[in-house]
Each structure stands twice: as C-alpha cells, then as structure tokens.
C-alpha cells in the first residue's frame, strides 16, 4: 500500500470511529458533503466558528454559575440553549447531548448539577476538538501526498 492509500485507510477508520463513538453524527457528514472545490475549507471554517462559540459560551456559563449572590439560571440556560443549537448544526453529538442534560439542571435551578454539566460539556468540547484536529490533519496529509479525501458515509 502506498502512502496515500495508507493515509486514506487511516482516515476512513478514524472517521468511522468518530461516528461509532458518537463524537459526530450524520449532520457532520452532511456538512462534509457540502464541501467542494468552490468551498474547500468549509468544514474547517464552520468547526472553527463552533469552537470559538463553545469557548465563549462555556465562559458565560462559568461566570453565571460563579455568581455568589444568586445564579441567574435563565442566563445559564440561554447559553446552553445556544450551544446546543450550534452543536446540533455541526453534528457534534456528544456536546449536544451534554447540553440537553445541562438544560434540565438549569430548569431545576440546581447549581451543583449545573456545575457538573459544565464540566461535562467542557470535557466533551476538548475531546471533540482533539478528534477533529486529528481528522483535519489526516485530510491535509492526504492532500499533500496527492490523494483525495475519501467520502465516508
């Protein structure tokens, strides 16, 4: 197997594992299909926007939950809602699911529960970031070696 094939194989295996482990769902595949020669960096761009969004929203949640004089759960919920939305739009399934649980704790006005969820969301976000960075690196390597990126359905 030449280098391109090896890399492509790696890519396919890695992609498959991402789906299998629930890091991404079909919406992510949908976005990959929207990428073409007119918009070759579409996925990387959207994902970058998403991660920026994540960081901002996670910070908002953390700040809101830190308020000693009383947590504004509506505010926390608003941020969680936003994060849930954008994670759903890019297919970040585990992050999205973490947000879903988070919202119930917001509704219950349970600060401890919320803090645990915030930890969970933060954790899922870092995991995903690493995974996707690996994926994108593999893509770059394939392209650099003169190959094309396999479509994994």
């Amino acid at each position: 197997m030449n280098i391109v094939n090896q890399l492509q194989r790696q890519f396919i295996d890695f992609s498959t594992s991402l789906h299998r482990e629930g890091f991404v769902d079909d919406q992510f595949t949908q976005l990959q299909k929207l990428q073409d020669e007119n918009s070759p960096d579409f996925v990387v761009e959207v994902v970058s926007l998403f991660f920026e969004d994540c960081e901002k929203l996670i910070n908002n949640m953390a700040r809101a939950l830190e308020q000693t004089q009383g947590v504004d759960f509506k505010q926390v919920d608003a941020s969680v809602h936003q994060l849930k939305g954008s994670s759903s739009s890019i297919g970040a399934m585990r992050v999205k699911n973490a947000c879903i649980s988070f919202r119930s704790f917001c509704e219950a006005q349970n600060r401890e529960g919320c803090l645990r969820c915030l930890q969970q969301v933060t954790h899922e976000y870092s995991l995903l970031k690493n995974k996707l960075q690996t994926l994108f690196t593999l893509e770059q390597q394939i392209l650099a070696a003169g190959g094309s990126i396999p479509v994994v359905d």
């Binding site: 919406q27 949908q30 969004d53 739009s89």
Partner: protein, 244 residues
Amino acid sequence: MARDGGVTWRRTEKIDRFNLSAADTAEELHVLAVDDSLVDRKVIERLLRISSCKVTAVDSGIRALQFLGLDEEKNSNGFNDLKVDLIITDYCMPGMTGYELLKKVKESSVFREIPVVIMSSENVLARIDRCLEEGAEDFIVKPVKLSDVKRIKDYTTREFRVGEEERTRKGINKRKQRDSFDLSSSSPPSILSSSPVSSSSSSPESQSPSPSPPSIPSASSAPSSPSPIDSHSPTRRVKTTSSE
C-alpha cells in the same frame, strides 16, 4: 464582501455566470437568511449557495427589516435593488424573534408575498401552528439539511412559475419530524416537494408517491398524507381555502 453593521452581504461565487444571461439571473432565488448564531448562518449560507441561491445573511430581525427597507428609522437604499425572493429565519433570537419578524413581513403590503420559512431547534407543535397561522410557508426543525433547502427552493420556484393558482392549492404539509427521516438522503421530503399540494383533509395528489411522509411530532395523529394534524390546521395566510 460588503459589511454594514451586522449585515454580511456576499455575492455568490457564481456571479459571473449569472450576469451573462438575464434568464439565469431571473432564475436564481435571492434568499434573506436570518439567524443570530454565526455557526448556523454559515451553514445555511452554504446550503443555499450550493443550491444555487443568492444569499444575504443577517444576524437579527431588525437587520432583516433594515435590509428589506421596512425599518422606519433606517433606509438601506443601497441594498434595495436585490429583490428578496424568500426569507428563512430562526425562531429563537434575542430582540425580535423569527415569529415577530414573520408578522412584520406579513403586515407589509410590499413584502407580504415573500415566502417566509421558520427554522427552530425545538419541535413544538404550538409554535409550528402559530407560525403557519401567521403565514409562514414552512417550518424546518434544525439542524437544517440540504434536503430541507431543496424542498423549500422547489416550492418557492414553483410559486414563481405557476403563480396564484398554485399557491391557492398548496396545503400545509411541510412540517417534519426530524427523527422520522433518513438523514443522509433527500428521500421523502424531496418526493413530497414535487407535489407540495395537499390539503389537510384530502389524500395526496396522485403523482405523489407519499412513502411515509413527514408526520407531525408526537401529539398528533399521523395521517398517511403529507399533511399536518387535521384538527390543528391553521388557515393559510393567502387567499387559499385549501385547508379546512
């Protein structure tokens, strides 16, 4: 790329092509997309562009109104020459919600004919009904997929070409339950989009194969026709009487 406050106005990459022929220009729909989420705006823009639409994406209802020229305070003269053929807006937005934007558009004598599609991450029946009652063309449950865009583009284009008659025959069939679909392809919705006409009380048109069509979420009865719950059918905003 022109920027004006929160308005991002980017010409499509295909601008050269459509300048060549008047027919082409006329065919390309200009969609005004409204969403406060940057990620969602990016996705919807791509979905629309890849579907050969011109897109103007704004981050709020206010900006949308400004773009249309409906905002009393500001007159965005520079943008008025690009006619908007379709508005697609998120429901949950700070400030003006998508619902409020919908109402403003439908209240305007100039813009009321523009189809408005609402997007929402929440599949809430009451919300869907309210929007349809107010005159929304369709309600898409997020995340938005290519098949959704294809569907709305189909009937929007048809409206152009066929006009009033078609419009009065259109029923309310466009809700979808995200879970009931095979996400990877455009199967049922596209098939339905080829014959969007269906009143809530009658069976689908003969040309519609209607394989498990989108049914309304949980609470409703799940009719085999691509129509919403009969008991909840809102009146169509247009002169139509198709839904009873």
